[in-house]
Symmetry: D2
Subunit: 99 residues, 4 copies
């Protein structure tokens, strides 16, 4: 039975940098949300900001998925091990629609 | 023409505290995501964590919406000013489905 | 305890017509999906079509929400019955994020 | 440059049957929505029904994705043609989050 991997098959340096930069910006946005709540800002404006953080997270998810498909999934499918290919596909179907 | 408000009509102390606590936890989760990316953790695991942050943000959104409907929207509709009620309803329709 | 209503407080004739027209088009799209499946069309193309039906359903949802807020919700909030207002708000929070 | 395929690489008979059955049920649900609108049923109840159709469509999408990954994607990645593999991965990233 194929083992669930701990690490990505490969993460190019520029992908890692792009992800880190985006996640730092998202961390700042979440701190901004705390400030808005603290200042009792208009709820609809806070809700718009939340939607913007969610969109930013979807962007991070798309980059990760691209990397996952290009490296991890491709490796699993090319490995020639059908159980490993099946594991990766099952995983993608479960992830689908969670975002 | 009704002015877009700067502040919430009312935010009960326990709502504010609940929102702040949840947003702090979300900030920690986003820092956790940065660590996972830095350690080149398996992409599918990072994607599951992103889905969990998205769900936590939806939770914050639901609390804010509840407050918005109970206080800001109710005030606007009771104000007797049809333009103000219309503004608030238009705003809700735009927010709908963004989350 | 306020009764859950069976009918909308009010649906203007043009809203009803717009909803019916959109739902008929969606019914046609769903039949189109059956044809695509029957002809074993490329899965990614079928998935794009499904996304388009989902977007069309969100459009119907937005019109219904607008009507719900303008008529049903407004009536409930103006009724002066706090239990009725609370019921409608609870309902909106539950609906939120389901679409 | 790899050609966009017209047909699925393979659709097992039981997958086709499952998809057809689900889509027929969805068609019936959409007709039910038309009836609800015609009878001016309570908007919140119609919105709950719309959410249920959307969930049913997501179910169809998951089956299609599973088939797409198991057959079309796997074939493309195994074809040894990097442009073809890239085309399929690009397609999946675009589809991601549309549902």
């Amino acid at each position: 039975m194929p083992k669930h991997p701990d690490h990505a098959a490969h993460v190019p340096a520029e992908t890692k940098e792009a992800l880190t930069k985006r996640l730092r910006r998202i961390e700042g946005q979440v701190r901004g949300l705390q400030k808005m709540v603290d200042e009792e800002r208009y709820c609809a404006d806070v809700l718009v900001q939340i939607a913007s953080v969610q969109e930013a997270l979807r962007g991070v998810g798309r980059i990760l998925l691209q990397n996952h498909l290009t490296h991890c999934t491709t490796d699993a499918i090319r490995s020639g091990d059908p159980a490993e290919a099946e594991r990766v596909i099952e995983e993608l179907v479960l992830l689908w629609g969670k975002h």
